[in-house]
Structures are given as structure tokens and as C-alpha cells.
Symmetry: none
DNA sequence: ATCTCATTTTACATAAATTTTACAAACTTA
DNA sequence: TAAGTTTGTAAAATTTATGTAAAATGAGAT
């Protein structure tokens, strides 16, 4: 069951959201002001935060920025009032994963929540090793085995594999990889990605030049298949 | 619910439009001048823009051009006072999807809106595979099957199929295909399109020379029919 | 400071996609 | 039917993306 934290000062909207999300099977926790919400987000464990931009005290942008500073991987969807001139660019700039404009329908919100959760999904809790072909990766101990022999993967290589394995079967755009693995600002030449792919293939594929798991989709990006 | 942005400086027309469209169930946002309208169009999410040509400051043509430059797929219907041929032509030239001449009746406007929205409708959210005849396309995984065997489609071929399938049943002008799939600047010989069509038929039709799904409309372009 | 390793950039080769060209076939129109 | 278009088709020519290795850069550790 996924847990969601809602930070929203309008109690009628808050109640509506909570009821709907609870009904959908999410574990919901709420907060009506920025400071408290931030504290909860940082100290408790959530899978997603719904964050209103207009908040008394600490505003949504600031809360978002501070959450992301500490918990970069905690996904955040911003709720913005339609009449306000807030543009989505600044919202996403601040690190939010998505935004939705009020008034919004619950189905739309649910859809976005599913997308974000899916996108940021981690390996099932408790399991932090993954095997494919002759390779086994332990994402907790940062140990990689190939044909039962330890091979050295850098932390970025682990990050890439994690990202791809979490989305096994989906085509991953080069751009997404750069955004999500390398971070926001950082935009190295896209060839960097290719070189990592090359290196990972060398380390984890039986025949690096005929990869079975780390596959190119020309014109788009790469795909991991177990 | 579809959202519409109206950019119109005459406040009485604006009010009338807004009321009518709201009543019809659209989510309506408005703007009375070019600059602001442009900003909204670019930074917020709309399904359609109604754009007056005569605007103080930035005129409608210019707004249209700039919107299309960034959001090529955001449909725009121009509202024009003069019914001169010139206006129509330059209006469509600038990238508008349709135009309507004042004074117009609300039923006519509604009809055009429906047409434009229908035309630009994408595959239903969450569904990213599509089947017809013996072919199945997965637009997310970039996998194409024909008679249950995987065939290789390039990313551009996928893009063309996506474009046509989204408009299934509509005749698609060669020119549109070039504009929308290839982008603005890029204008290869139209024979390029034909060659892609040829290639797609070979890959996805039972009898490539007697296509059942990817159909030619002489003098216009092509049409996809499931 | 020097060494080591991870990371990024550069450069070039190669494979694949894309575009152009050319001509045949089909259709339109007068 | 003949002339003029438009489309089908294959193959050649060109461009672009990716594979790949090696050099340059940077950040820590000794």
C-alpha cells in the first residue's frame, strides 16, 4: 500500500482529497501548513507528496525545494490554483515531479499519481538484489557479480542499472536518463550515456557487442530486458 | 474535461464565449491581450485556443505563430472579423488549425471546436498499444508485431503510425504529415512520405500493394483505417 | 604533490535510418 | 486516346545515431 502526504491549507479540499485517496487504497497523512508538512515529509516515510503551492507560512515552492534537498527521490505533485499566474515552469524548476491545476477532477489526479508512483517505483521493499543473465546486482551492498565473480560497478553505473531495471521492458529516453540519473542541471554530452551503456555491457553482458539485456532503441534510447 | 483558452479583447464577445463554452462543459480560461494570452498558452495546459486576430499589442497572427513554434500540437482556431480570402489564407499559413468568421453562431463554433478536438485527440491515456489487421504496435516499448512476429519499425515510422492512428479515419494531407511528424523547418521532398508509406505497408499490410489500412487518397494524402 | 579511479569529452568507424533520384504504373482531364 | 499528374516502387546517395576506444578532466586517497 502506498502512502501519500497531502499538504493543503484549504480544509474542504483536503478532506475531499483524503477521502478519495483513502477510498482508492492509499494510506493518507495530512498537514495544513508548510512547516508541519515539511517536517512530516522529512521525518516520516511516504511514497508521494501532494503539495499545494499557496500555503500560509512556508510556501509550496520552498517546501518542495527543501524536501528535494534531503529526499531527492520522494516524488512531489504540486497543486496550483488556476487563477494564479504561477507557471508550471517554476514549479518543475523547483524539483516537483508533476503539477496539476485546480480545479481538477479526481480521475485526473489519480492518473497522475499512478504515473508518478510508477515512474519512481523502487524495487519491491526488502528485495534489493536483482539478477539477469549471468549478472547479479546488490543495490544495497553495491556489489555486482558476473558469472559469480565480483565486478566493479561505479555508483553511477549502479544508478543507471537501478533506473533501467525499475522500468524493465520500457524504452528509456536518453534524455530521461540524463535528467533522472544525472540530476537536474547537469547536461553532459549525450555520448556520456552511451559510454556508460558500453561499459555496463562489457561488465554484465555475455557478448557485449550483442547485448541481450541492455538494448538500444535507435533514435530513442535504451531498454533493459531481463 | 477539455480546457480552452480564449484570447479576445472585446469583453462582451469574450463574456459570451466564456459563458457558452462553460455551459457546454469546457474548462475556460481567458485573456484580453496578446502578450498575456501567449504566456498563458505557453505555460499552462490547454486543449485548444480560440484566438482573435485583431488584438491590441501583439496581433493574433503573431501569437499563433509563436504558440505553434513551441507547442506545435496545441490546436488553434482563429476568430476573424473580415471574411476576406487573404485573412483565411494567412491565418492558416501561420499554423492555425481552423478559422471562423465573425459574426458566427455558437452552434457553428461548437461544431468546429469538436472537430478540432477530435482531430487532435490522442490515444486514450494509459493505452499505448494499438492493433489492426495482423499488426500490433506498442508505442511505449517501440515494438511492432506482424502476424505475431516482431518487425523492425524505425522511430519515425512509429511516429507516423501514431499520428495516423490518432486520426484514424481522417484523411491526412501529405503536408500535415510533413509539418507534424517532421516539424516545421524540415521539408524534405514529399516523396519521402510516400517512401515511408511504402515501407510501412510492406511491414504491416497483408498485401502491401493492396493496402487495407494505410490507404492513399489521390491528390491529398493518406488515411489510416483500422 | 602524485597516484588512482570515476567521469566526461573527443574522435573515428560502422550500422542504420533517411532522403533523393529515377522510372514505372495508375489515374485525370481534355 | 494522349498529355499531364500523382503515386508506387526500388535502389542509390546521404545523413545521422550509435559503438567503441582512447584521451582529457576531475576528485579523492595516500
Amino acid at each position: 500500500m502506498n502512502s501519500i502526504l497531502i499538504i493543503e491549507d484549504d480544509t474542504s479540499i483536503l478532506r475531499g482529497l483524503k477521502d478519495n485517496l483513502t477510498f482508492e487504497g492509499y494510506k493518507v497523512s495530512t498537514s495544513t501548513n508548510g512547516e508541519e508538512g515539511l517536517k512530516k515529509a522529512l521525518h516520516e516515510e511516504f511514497d508521494l507528496v501532494l503539495l499545494d503551492i499557496m500555503l500560509p507560512g512556508l510556501n509550496g515552492h520552498e517546501v518542495c525545494r527543501r524536501i528535494k534537498k534531503v529526499k531527492n527521490n520522494l516524488p512531489i505533485i504540486m497543486l496550483t490554483a488556476r487563477s494564479s499566474e504561477i507557471d508550471k515552469v517554476t514549479g518543475l524548476d523547483v524539483g516537483a515531479d508533476d503539477y496539476i491545476t485546480k480545479p481538477f477532477g479526481i480521475p485526473e489526479l489519480l492518473a497522475r499519481i499512478r504515473v508518478v508512483l510508477r515512474r519512481t517505483n523502487k524495487l519491491p521493499v526488502g528485495i534489493d538484489t536483482y539478477s539477469f543473465g549471468n549478472a547479479t546486482l546488490d543495490f544495497k551492498k553495491y556489489i555486482a557479480l558476473f558469472k559469480n565473480k565480483e565486478v566493479n560497478l561505479s555508483s553511477k553505473e549502479f544508478a543507471i542499472m537501478k533506473f533501467m531495471i525499475d522500468r524493465a521492458g520500457d524504452v528509456i529516453h536518453r534524455y530521461d536518463l540524463l535528467q533522472k540519473v544525472w540530476g537536474y542541471e547537469r547536461v553532459p554530452t549525450t555520448r556520456t550515456v552511451d559510454n556508460y551503456i558500453l561499459s555496463l555491457r562489457k561488465k554484465l553482458e555475455d557478448e557485449p557487442s550483442k547485448p541481450k539485456h541492455i538494448i538500444s532503441i535507435r533514435g530513442v534510447g535504451y531498454k533493459f530486458e531481463s
